[in-house]
C-alpha cells in the first residue's frame, strides 16, 4: 500500500495536497483505486463549479462498480485534469501524481488541516 507523506486524506479515500499558491489538489488514494479495480470512466466537475465538503463532486466507474466521489473540502474548482477523460486508467497507474483530478481554491483552509495525515490514514485503512 502506498501512502506518501505530505498528503492529507478523507475517510472516503480522497487525498488533498496543498500547492505553493495555496490551492488544493484532489485525487483518490492508492488504496481506493486498488479496491475499485480498472477504472474505465471518470466524470468530474467543470472549472468554476463549487464543491462542498462531504458532498459528491463526480463519478468513477470501474470494471467492478460505479462509485461517487466525495469532496474532502469545500471550495471552487479552478483546474480539472482533462487528460483523465481519455485516459482514466491513469488513476490506477499514478493515483498520487498524474492521476490527480482537480485543483480547488479552498473556502476554509481549516477543513484541509482537519483531514488525516499519512500515519492517521494508514491506521484508518488498517482498521478497515
Amino acid at each position: 500500500m502506498e501512502i506518501p507523506e505530505g498528503y492529507r486524506f478523507s475517510e472516503e479515500h480522497e487525498w488533498a495536497r496543498e500547492e505553493e499558491d495555496g490551492s488544493i489538489t484532489i485525487g483518490i488514494s492508492w488504496h481506493a483505486q486498488d479496491l475499485l479495480g480498472d477504472i474505465v470512466y471518470v466524470e468530474l466537475p467543470e472549472e468554476g463549479d463549487s464543491i462542498e465538503s462531504g458532498e459528491e463532486f463526480g463519478v468513477l466507474e470501474s470494471v467492478k462498480a460505479a462509485s461517487d466521489l466525495y469532496a474532502p473540502i469545500s471550495g471552487e474548482v479552478i483546474v480539472v485534469n482533462m487528460e483523465l477523460e481519455d485516459a482514466p486508467q491513469t488513476i490506477n497507474e499514478s493515483p498520487f501524481d498524474e492521476g490527480w483530478m482537480m485543483r480547488v481554491r479552498p473556502d476554509d483552509i481549516q477543513e484541509f488541516n482537519d483531514l488525516m495525515d499519512a500515519d492517521e490514514y494508514r491506521a484508518f485503512v488498517e482498521r478497515g
Binding site: 470512466y41 466524470e43 463519478v59 466507474e61 460505479a66 461517487d68
Partner: protein
Amino acid sequence: MRYLPHTLEDIESMLEAIGVESIEELFEQIPAEYRFKGKLALAEPQSELSLERDLGLLAAKNQVASPETVSFLGAGMYNHHSPHALNQLLLRAEYYTSYTPYQPEISQGTTKAIFEFQSMVAELLGVPIANASMYDGAHATAEAALMAQRVGRKRDYVFVAESVHPEYRDVIKTYLAAQGDVYREFGVDPQTGRFSLESLQKAVDEPDKTACIIYQSPNFFGVLEDPREMIEWAHSHKIQVVSCFNEALAFALTTPPGHFGADIIAGEGTSLGIPMGYGGPALGIFGCREQLVRKMPGRLAGYTVDTEGREGYVLTLSTREQHIRREKATSNICTNQGLMALAAAIYLSLMGKEGLRDVAKLNFSRAKYALEKLTENGGARRRFSGPIFNEFVLETRAKASDIVAEASADGIMPGFDMGRINPDWENYLMVAVTEKTTRDNIDKLAKYIDK
C-alpha cells in the same frame, strides 16, 4: 406465460407464514383518507358469448386501413406495407417479451436480435450509437430533452420548434412540468413551413442556460428541414441539438440526422414494418453521438468475446441503469419495445439497403404525383414551399372537415384535418402517401378535393 391465480388455501398459508390475519391488514400502513372506498365503476361480469358480441359491435365501428380502404392519413403514423414473412417470424414465442434480458447468458437470441436492431437503426440515423428502443416517438423525444439537460448540467431550458408534432410537444411539456418554467417554443416560417432560425435566436435569450433545441424532420407539416446553420449556431453556444422524427423511412432517401451533426436523435419507428394500431404498439427509436453514451437512457446490447474467444452478446454500460446506480441512474427504463424492435430488425433485414431505398423512392414519387394531381384543378393549393418526403399540407377551398366527412362516408380517408389542432387551420388538409397508395386512389381523392 400461464396465469395461475392463488387458491384460498394458498392465500391462507401465506398469511399464516407471515403472521397476518387478512390481506386487508397488509394495507393498513396507507392512511385511511387515501384509501379508495366504494365500488369500482366496472361493468358486471359477462359470459364469453355476450362479451364477444359486445366487443365485436365495438370493433365494427372502426374504420380500418386495409387494402380495400383508401387512406391518406398520416400525421405521425404511416400506412406502410409489412411483409408477410415478418409476421410469421414474429410469431415465435421465444421473443414474446418487452424486456431486455437481465441474464444475457440464457438469452443470447434476444440479445443478439437487439444488437442487430441497434446496429441497423444507428446506420439509418447516421449515428454511432442506438439503444434497445423506447416506447414510442414522443416518449423517446421527451427522454432526449432530459438527457440533454443531464449533458448540459446547469442548463435547463428546452426549446422546441412549433413544427414538432403537437403530441410530442405535449409529452415533452409533461416530462418537464415538475421543473417549473423551462419549456420554450420557437416559430415556423409561414412560407416554407420550416423552423425559423431568426425566431429561435430571438427566443433563446440565455444561451448558457439552454440545454437543447428540438426540431423535427420531416416535420409535422411533412416538410424536410435544413438544420445545418442552426446546429452550427447551437454548438457555438454548447447547446445540444435533438433531431426528432415520426417517419423513419425518410432517412432511406434523405440525409440522416446524424450526418447533419445532431447530438441526439429520437423518434418513431412504426414505419419500419409495424402495422398501424390505435394506441400502439409503437416503437421509440433513440440514438446519439458516442461521447454522450453514458448519459443515454434505455438499454444497450453489446457484442463481446468470452475468455475462450467465443462471441457473445451482453447488456453493456449498465452502470447508467437503476439496478446498479439506483436513484442516480441516467436510465430508469428497463423495459423496451422488445417485440417491436425485433419486427423493425426483421423488416430492415428483409428490405436491405436497396429495398428500403426503393420503398422510400416510391413514397416520394407517389407523393409528388399526388401533390400535382390534387392541386391542378384549383380545389386546393400547396400550403408550404419547403421540400417534402411523403406528406404535405394542402390549403383547400372547402373546409377540411367537410372534405373528411364527405369522403369518409364513401370509405375514403382523405387525410388529417388540421383544424383539429388550430382553428385557423380549418382549411388545411394534411395528406400522406405511401407505397400502398395507388394512382387510382389519388385520382379518387382529387374528386373530393375539387368538388
